[in-house]
């Protein structure tokens, strides 16, 4: 712990990592709360995996065609938004096909990514860092993009809190009150897409769904309203990323996996504790 803190003052990469964790936690607390209470976390999973397609394409273009400005995170943003809109439109228009489409977007996105990465010359260590995250390799330019996405997600997520709450709780009533339910549902999925991109840098594609849901799941044991769930989920997420980084530092464990294990263990303890108290 002391070693980690003194190292933080010394190495910028740890400062970037902590700042990324902080930014990601705020987005995760707010958007995660919406999608967990609306019970659409699997949509987050589908969007997360499809992101590999965008990252792989961007990586391929930057290496083979020297589009050096087109960084993998930009590709991730584009892929995530496309996936969100495709899944959203299908789930609004033809509800019974929703799970099929999520599964298809999930796997097709990954397939595109794998093909692009395999066709990119050189040693492909990037594939591993996309899949499992590498918060310690966040660059200042990544941090700028994450910061901008974070501001968008948090501002829009809070500005339309009343609308999102009404749409998540009771779509039909919201429609009678003159709310454009389709618009807000798609907007929420787009915010989810941007949140997923932020979280991919922290824990990687495969573990995004855990970071999106576990802090909210823990928070929901201590909260009966949505805004309180958001605040608590943000705090838990900050604690998980901070202590996950700390724990992983000295024995040189993968940071993303450590963060997820810490979150999972906390959730398990809270769930068991709650069950014991209720008996």
């Amino acid at each position: 712990m002391a070693e980690f803190i003194s190292a933080t003052f010394e190495y910028p990469f740890l400062q970037y990592a902590l700042l990324t964790g902080l930014l990601a936690s705020v987005a995760c607390g707010i958007i995660g709360s919406y999608i967990v209470t609306r019970r659409i976390t699997y949509i987050g999973g589908g969007i997360a995996h499809s992101v590999l397609g965008g990252m792989g394409a961007a990586y391929f273009l930057s290496v083979v065609y020297k589009w050096s400005a087109f960084q993998p995170l930009y590709g991730a943003v584009i892929a995530a938004l496309i996936a969100a809109i495709v899944i959203g439109l299908v789930s609004l228009r033809a509800r019974q096909r929703e799970d099929t489409v999520i599964g298809a977007v999930w796997a097709i996105g990954m397939a595109i990514g794998i093909i692009f990465i395999s066709k990119t010359p050189g040693y492909n260590e990037n594939l591993m860092s996309y899949l499992f995250g590498n918060i310690l390799m966040v660059t200042p330019s990544d941090l700028w993009l994450i910061g901008i996405l974070d501001i968008i997600v948090v501002a829009v997520g809070l500005l339309f809190y009343n609308q999102f709450l009404a749409v998540c709780f009771d779509e039909e009533f919201a429609r009678v009150r003159g709310i454009n339910v389709e618009f807000y549902y798609l907007l929420l999925l787009c915010l989810t897409a941007l949140t997923v991109v932020i979280l991919v840098t922290v824990v990687g594609i495969v573990m995004v769904i855990a970071l999106l849901t576990l802090p909210v799941a823990v928070a929901s044991y201590f909260s009966k309203t949505l805004w309180r769930t958001m605040i608590l989920a943000t705090i838990f997420s900050i604690l998980f990323t901070f202590f996950g980084l700390t724990i992983s530092y000295t024995p040189n464990l993968p940071a993303g996996a450590t963060i997820i294990l810490l979150a999972g263990a906390t959730y398990l303890l809270v769930a068991i504790g709650n069950a014991v108290i209720r008996r």
Partner: protein, 252 residues
């Protein structure tokens, strides 16, 4: 029938797929009516309610509310959906739910204003839910949830109250309480409610509209076993409400 109709349905037909759900429906609803829309499951009652709310559009015929298309006057309608459609675990308290009724009345984004909160609190007081306003939705009883959803509908300050199965799965005592509230509201609002239960609260209900693909209307006094048998097809166990609740032999 000297009052002007506030809802008029003319030669309306509706179908989701090919099979008609409603056929050649004609209904006029006047101001301060208390309408009980009754019929079997799948008979089209909820569909008729949704057409009145503008959530669905007729395939044939016309429907007007305050002489306009229903979707244009939604802000004057208070809607209470079926409780069963809501997630009982959703993290939200009573006041937050009542505030949802204010959406569409005021600002388009950002927090609610003071007058929105005042209107929601007034509505909660009207249905006796004010003291429970900070109680989570998941901890409310069935009767309290209905009263809360009525308060949410009232928060938008509507002229018409439309309720979908407000008494489903309620015991008689709670049902009676709910009707007391609706009767009081009926002094200033038009009340339209849908139920598949042939309840006979004739002391409150002014007109009964029977929906089973076609629509027929009956004065409340004419409803008897033979009529109910026609409507629901086959035998039916009737509950008579002409004795007080609490009498031992109220099953006729």
């Amino acid at each position: 029938m000297s009052d002007k109709a506030i809802i008029s349905v003319e030669k309306l037909s509706f179908s989701y797929n090919s099979a008609p759900v409603l056929e050649d429906v004609n209904v006029l609803i006047n101001e301060k009516d208390f309408i009980w829309i009754v019929g079997p499951n799948g008979g089209g009652k909820t569909t008729l309610l949704k057409l009145m709310l503008g959530l669905l559009s007729p395939k044939k015929g016309k429907i007007h509310v305050f002489d306009k298309s229903p979707a244009d006057v939604r802000s004057r309608m208070g809607y209470m959906p079926q409780v069963a459609n809501l997630d009982p675990k959703f993290p939200v308290n009573a006041l937050d739910i009542a505030m949802m009724g204010r959406l569409g009345n005021g600002s388009r984004f950002g927090p609610f204003r003071d007058r929105d909160r005042e209107a929601a609190e007034r509505a909660l007081k009207e249905t006796g839910m004010y003291d429970l306003r900070f109680r989570p939705f998941s901890e409310l009883s069935g009767g309290e949830q209905r009263r809360l959803l009525i308060a949410r509908a009232l928060a938008g300050e509507p002229d018409i109250l439309l309720l979908d199965e407000p008494t489903a799965n309620l015991d008689l005592v709670v049902e009676k309480e709910l009707f007391k509230i609706l009767k009081r509201l009926n002094e200033r609002l038009t009340v339209i409610l849908v139920s598949h239960e042939p309840a006979f609260v004739s002391e409150f209900v002014k007109r009964v509209i029977c929906v089973n693909r076609k629509v027929s209307e009956h004065p409340t006094c004419e409803i008897d076993g033979e009529f109910m048998g026609d409507l629901y097809g086959g035998e039916l166990r009737m509950i008579r409400h002409d004795r007080r609740v609490g009498d031992k032999e109220n099953h006729g």
